[in-house]
């Protein structure tokens, strides 16, 4: 296959991913307007109805409309995943940048701290912190951000170190520009590519983990319609497969979107990683 053909296929994949994400963002914007029922409307007569024209995704154990809950759930699951990555990326990138500029001893000490955080599996440490903080969307986001930032710190440090020794940075120094100005005006724009790639791949990752914490009962307080919590509510209902399947499909589709987009962005922005 030629490079051009490969490029086209990548573009298709990336565009497909972007479309899925845009679709979900549109749902996020108008969510409750599209929902045929209220997400908390209990109807015990219509419990566990299979998918039909009346209830596209069926109803759950309390007779709530699964389709409406999936739509409204986008307002919890999507922003939470974004929030974690945003907080972690801003803090981690600054941390790594400071470490790279801080001199050998500071750098060593600061990077040891990131190593320490990386020696815990993210889900388990986030579980422990979320349990300590108490259940709730904000607490879960905080708990996840605490375990999420080190990879950004590592990446940004290594990028800054590579950039620092390049000629245009030396030129900026020679011209008398300060460290902060050099960092923001010269290094950041040149090193941003790999960070953007990590961001795209990471949003999906963080959404899966957030949903996982919710699934474990550490995310949202019922009856908040969060996708992971909805899968959890239906996990014993093997016969009534729709209760768990559709919220899970929602998570899956969003994450596929971000992974397709991230994969395409990697080829485009990070030529060294090109396969």
């Amino acid at each position: 296959m030629s490079a051009a053909a490969r490029g086209r296929r990548r573009l298709t994949l990336g565009a497909g991913g972007a479309l899925i994400i845009l679709g979900w963002l549109a749902i996020l914007a108008v969510g409750p307007g599209l929902a045929p029922y209220s997400y908390r409307q209990v109807d015990l007569v219509a419990r566990l109805r299979p998918p039909s024209a009346e209830h596209y995704f069926g109803t759950d154990a309390l007779g709530r409309d699964v389709f409406s809950r999936v739509l409204v759930g986008s307002r919890v699951s999507l922003p939470s995943g974004f929030a974690v990555v945003l907080v972690a990326a801003v803090f981690g990138t600054l941390y790594g940048g400071v470490a790279a500029y801080g001199g050998a001893k500071t750098e060593e000490a600061m990077m040891r701290v990131t190593d320490l955080f990386l020696s815990f599996p993210p889900l388990i440490l986030a579980m422990a912190i979320a349990a300590a903080l108490g259940i709730g969307v904000t607490n879960t986001i905080v708990a996840m951000a605490v375990v999420w930032w080190p990879k950004y710190a590592r990446l940004s440090r290594s990028l800054v170190i590579v950039q620092r020794s390049l000629e245009y940075v030396e030129a900026a120094h020679a011209l008398g520009h300060g460290a902060a100005r050099t960092l923001l005006r010269h290094i950041v724009p040149n090193a941003i590519g790999p960070v953007v790639v990590l961001l795209a791949l990471d949003v999906g990752n963080s959404m899966i983990t957030f949903a996982g914490l919710s699934f474990l009962g550490l995310g949202v307080v019922p009856p908040t319609p969060e996708w992971g919590a909805m899968v959890s509510e239906g996990q014993v209902l093997i016969e009534q497969w729709w209760v768990s399947t559709f919220p899970g499909l929602a998570i899956f589709s969003v994450v596929v979107g971000f992974n397709f987009l991230g994969d395409a962005l990697r080829d485009w922005l990070d030529p060294r990683a090109r396969p």
Partner: protein, 349 residues
Amino acid sequence: MGGWAGGSEESMPVRYIVARVVGSALMAVAATLVVFLVAHTVPADPILAQLGDKASANPELVARFRARWALDRPLWEQYGIFLGRLARGDLGESIASRRPVLDDIAQYAPATIELATLAAILTIAVGVPLGVLAAVKRDGWLDHAARLACLVGVSAPTFWLAFLVLAVFYGGLQIAPSPGRLDVGAVLPPHHTGLFLVDSLLAGDWVTFRSALAHMVLPAVVLAASTVGLITRTTRASMLETLSQDYVRTARAKGLAEGGVVRGHAVPNALIPVVTLGGLAYAELLAGTVLTETIFSWPGLGRYTYQSALALDFPAIMGVTLLVALVYLAMNFVVDLSYLYLDPRVVRQ
């Protein structure tokens, strides 16, 4: 590989090992500090978190807890007490089971080790050959299919995948056994290791062995699904890099058949970074069991963690967290040591 020629280099492996031992030990101590800080400073009310609702209403229990951990002393002193108890294997007492956390962990660990090990074997058996083939037949249909499968595979939440396979193979097609390690009411194999596969083999009980293996297939596949993509990608990337090296070109130039080049020269060298990742992936599998075991009613550490989280059983969660972090560090240490044999160049740096 191997071989330490030259007098001045002889002390190199020793120095490398000592440095790794010291480094790992320091990280382990630091990990206990993190767990201690989360347990003793993060909760709004550590007593409520550690003892649970009922017990913290009982003044006698609260007083005993305060005395035990010296909660009125400075934080560093509390940490000293925590470390001292840890050294004696005291991780505190579970709120839910009212037993020492370490006893709980010892009881549930074999089921998890058995499951994670099978998943790790599956991961390597599928991921490594797939990665090698994808690299050798670069841009072929297999390469593209593998890449797409990896992307889709890492996008599926483990807990949802677990539900789907259970709904299809157990609920729908009814070809998979019920969730759990054995059928309900089945006689457990005599306890030696707690690993049902090993115990039933030791007893020569083939019926139980087959049943245990059958129960393990679905959860192991689900667990492996999250790591296969990672291993495949790493193997592929590493293979591509190795195939472009000079010594591979030399091997080709001297007339070696392509199969011999791949097997004899490329694969052994390409697998070095895969070993690094494999160690971490195993620790990752242990953590991944939290979600998988919950759905498959697998009585292991993962489900124990889930139940502890639901009950806000804080000492239990902390115990498992610390344990998994130590396993993580231990795996890292083993990986580092394996470089002595796999890639002596790393040691020299």
